[in-house]
Amino acid sequence: MRFAIPLIVLAGLIAVFFFGLQHDPRELPSPLIGKSAPAFELPIVPFPASDAPPLRLTASELKGKPLLVNFFASWCAGCQVEHPFLMQLAQTGTVELVGIDYKDADADLRAWLGQKGNPYAPILADLEGKVGIDWGVYGVPETFVLNADGVIVYKHIGPMTAEAWKTKIRPLLGAGA
């Protein structure tokens, strides 16, 4: 019987792995879900460039309609990956995208979006990443789904995908799109 012990251990391990594979290990729960978006006040990056003094936007102005808040940067590889999908999403007009440019230079940002297109309604500059800290961002890209009351209902970590949009995010927005 003792010679069968390794086999039993293996069976247990395989069961754990099998269920482990069903999970996405990158799905980290955000403590912010179900709470109002953390307050901030950030400058809006004019796109294309303009000389007018920059406007500022606060968290409270995000209320009124559901939207996606996408933390991104021109230097981040995952953001390059999700960019084409965000462009598609913006073109359908289903939901408004607020881009928060994380620790990035405005010039780099303009060069990038100028070449590839801008999916964001407003782009806000979080130059020092302080807002990112309040929102619990630990690596760009990350996307927060806000409902009309400005409450965070979902957080997507990593590049946004068509699948995540269809299965997770669109149902939350409740729109028939």
Binding site: L10, F17, G20, G139
Partner: protein, 658 residues
């Protein structure tokens, strides 16, 4: 054309591997020697096919053929040739091809070197390796084809991950895989022995050089990985207990246990079923490592895209191979009878203790690595297990191991005597105590508990290992002839044990006396750390083949005397828009000086991370010595003697343990 040729070669290899797996088994059941002889030809044919596929992929990289999706993702027109060759294993598909190539190379080697083996055993071993090969070739062809074409053809590739553009990483994966895959040979020997029921001293002697060879490559691979992490990640650390590292360390521990228990099985004909189990375990842990790294069940940062279908494939494959092996073990192992008694105070008894500690340490690491996954699966929350757990569990388990290493070389087989043992070991023991007290004060001027304990264990291991060679050499008329007459296996064991001692010294000293500091320095400003002062001379922009770098200059002085000039870089790779820290290290046997560049500030000052790492080289020196020791032991002439098989297990006296 070339990629299609490679793809075709892989399909052909799959066909041959399937025959290689099945035909010898049929030959064994029907006692048909022609079918048994087919195993060798199949192994060689399969090797040629996989080699061709590997050459095809390499040539696509060399010619920058971006119509191959894998090449487009991992190469760039500006990437230097050496990294285009190493980029073959820079990502999933190519790594897997390398894995398969290594497997077919080991099988090829078995088919060439094992002509002296009984036909039945040799053919079965090759057949089992063929089964593993079928699995990996299917995995490649079904889920991870490296030859997939890309249309439209991009003008420029996405470039190799800059982290991997380092000489250490260019050779780390191949050596590591050599080790991982090499354990498949011990595994196949174990399965063949369980099938035939013949697990004797001769079997152990055939298995030993293969296992030692695999072990030495794994040792070198882990050492290189640690060295790379130190140089490239910019954290000044050499081991992080992260799941990927643990995945390579667990088979190493099991493999170390296996080479010692094989010695017992060869010399004393006992611990047979345990040895068979360890051989299965070592390879299973290698497969587990591949699974953990490739499936993404444990990877928790965004860096690598994971693919559940691949994970599922490896899981099913692992279930079949390991499950099949363990079922066979549960069925056949009870029939393996021991040829002798086990006395605990004897070399075999001490080696059994060594096995217990190694396997428990391996189990503790397995537990720590998988615990977060288990909790997550049971929905009990997300946690991560970090270095404090591993250090607290692993380090105490190693202490008895070091004590045992010294004893093991002196206590004879069958039955040891306490008085005799003490007589031989009192000089090494006293020398170790003296060294443990002198070293910390001589090198650093003060002692800590860790340095004293590590110094004691490390020097005890070294002195006890050396006294064995010394005693053998002294028994001859002249010292020189004595040294020449020491068998290579003994040299191998001694050098590997000295390496273990060096490792302990390095670990103890670097943890006790290492300094680190984050400073912000304006140009021409200085920071003092320990006995050294680091002067920042400012940073300028320089250009590399495929990157632009900010290069700082830091001069280091000790007591007003310049000792080193360091040029750490912060590299920007435009192709991936990726920033990479390239730390600068001044290497010394007793200390490393290490500087990495952090962020630049508007006023021209930089944040710098500075380390003084005493004796960190001993950590890797230990690994390299173990590698050399393994090489000597595996090439001992008694394994090469044509008629060694006949002389069998009688020569118990004067035998080796490593």
């Amino acid at each position: 054309m070339i990629p299609e040729l490679g793809h075709f070669a892989l399909i052909l290899a799959l066909g041959i591997a399937a025959l290689q797996a099945v035909v010898p088994i049929v030959g064994w059941r029907t006692r048909d020697s022609r079918l048994l002889a087919f195993a060798g030809s199949a192994a060689q044919g399969q090797f040629l096919c996989v080699l061709l596929a590997y050459v095809c992929l390499t040539s696509s990289f060399i010619t920058k053929d971006f119509s191959v999706a894998y090449v487009a993702e991992n190469a760039h027109t500006q990437l230097p040739l050496i990294y285009r060759i190493s980029a073959v294993w820079g990502a999933h598909e190519g790594s897997l091809l390398l894995w398969t190539f290594m497997l077919s190379s080991w099988t090829f080697a078995v088919s060439v070197f094992n002509r002296r083996l009984p036909a039945e055993l040799g053919a079965l071993v090759v057949s089992i390796l063929g089964m593993i090969s079928v699995g990996f070739l299917l995995f490649l062809l079904l889920t991870s084809n490296p030859f997939e074409r890309l249309f439209p053809v991009p003008l420029e590739g996405r470039d190799l991950n800059p982290l991997l553009q380092d000489p250490g990483l260019a050779i780390h994966p191949p050596t590591l895989y050599m080790g991982y895959v090499g354990f498949s040979v011990a595994f196949a020997f174990s399965i063949a022995a369980l099938l035939t029921g013949k697990l004797d001293a001769a079997w152990a002697r055939w298995t030993r050089p293969w296992t030692t060879a695999a072990w030495m490559f794994l040792t070198l691979g882990i050492t290189l990985g640690s060295w790379w992490a130190y140089n490239e990640l910019g954290w000044g650390g050499w081991w992080f207990w992260d799941p990927v590292e643990n995945a390579s360390f667990m088979p190493w521990l099991a493999g170390t246990a296996l080479i010692h228990s094989l010695a017992v099985t060869e010399k004393r004909g006992i611990l047979k079923s345990w040895t068979a189990l360890l051989a299965i375990l070592a390879f299973s842990l290698s497969l587990l490592g591949t699974f953990l790294v490739r499936s993404g069940v444990l990877v928790s940062v965004h860096a690598f895209a994971t693919d559940p279908s691949r994970g599922l494939f490896i899981l099913v494959f692992m279930g079949i191979i390991v499950g099949g092996a363990l079922t066979l073990y549960a069925w056949r192992a009870p029939k393996l009878a021991s040829d002798g008694e086990l006395n605990l105070f004897s070399r075999e008894g001490l080696l059994l203790f060594n096995n217990v500690f190694l396997v428990v340490a391996c189990g503790a690491i397995l537990l720590g690595t998988l615990y977060p996954l288990v909790l997550d699966t049971l929905k009990l929350g997300k946690i991560s297990v970090g270095p404090p757990y591993f250090n607290a569990v692993f380090l105490p388990l190693t202490v008895p191991l070091f004590v045992l290493v010294g004893l093991g070389a002196v206590v004879p087989w069958k039955k040891g005597r306490v008085g005799e043992t003490w007589k031989r070991l009192r000089i090494p023991a006293m020398a170790a105590v003296a060294a443990a007290i002198i070293l910390p004060f001589a090198l650093e001027g003060r002692a800590t508990i860790v340095a004293l304990a590590g110094g004691l264990l490390g020097s005890w291991t070294i002195f006890a290992a050396v006294q064995d060679v010394w005693r053998r050499a002294r028994a001859k008329p002249s010292l020189l002839s004595g040294l020449i007459n020491v068998p290579r296996a003994i040299w191998g064991m001694t050098i590997a044990h000295v390496g273990l001692g060096c490792w302990a010294l390095g670990v103890a000293f670097v943890t006790s006396y290492g300094f680190e500091q984050d400073v912000r320095l304006a140009p021409m400003a200085e920071a003092a750390l320990g006995a050294y002062s680091f002067g920042f001379q400012g940073a300028i922009e320089t250009k590399g083949p495929n990157f632009i770098a900010q290069q700082g200059t830091v001069t280091v002085e000790q007591g007003g005397r310049p000792v080193a000039t360091l040029n750490p870089q912060k590299r920007f790779y435009p192709s991936q828009r990726n920033v990479q820290t390239e730390s600068a290290v001044d290497v010394g046997l007793t200390r490393d000086l290490y500087v990495s560049l952090g962020e630049a500030f508007d006023d021209g000052s930089w944040s710098l991370r500075i380390y003084v790492k005493p004796m960190i080289r001993f950590v890797w020196l230990g690994g390299v010595l173990m590698f050399i020791g393994g090489g000597l032991a595996a090439s001992d002439r008694r394994y090469r003697l044509a008629r060694a098989a006949e002389r069998s297990a009688v020569s118990a006296s004067g035998a080796t343990a490593a």
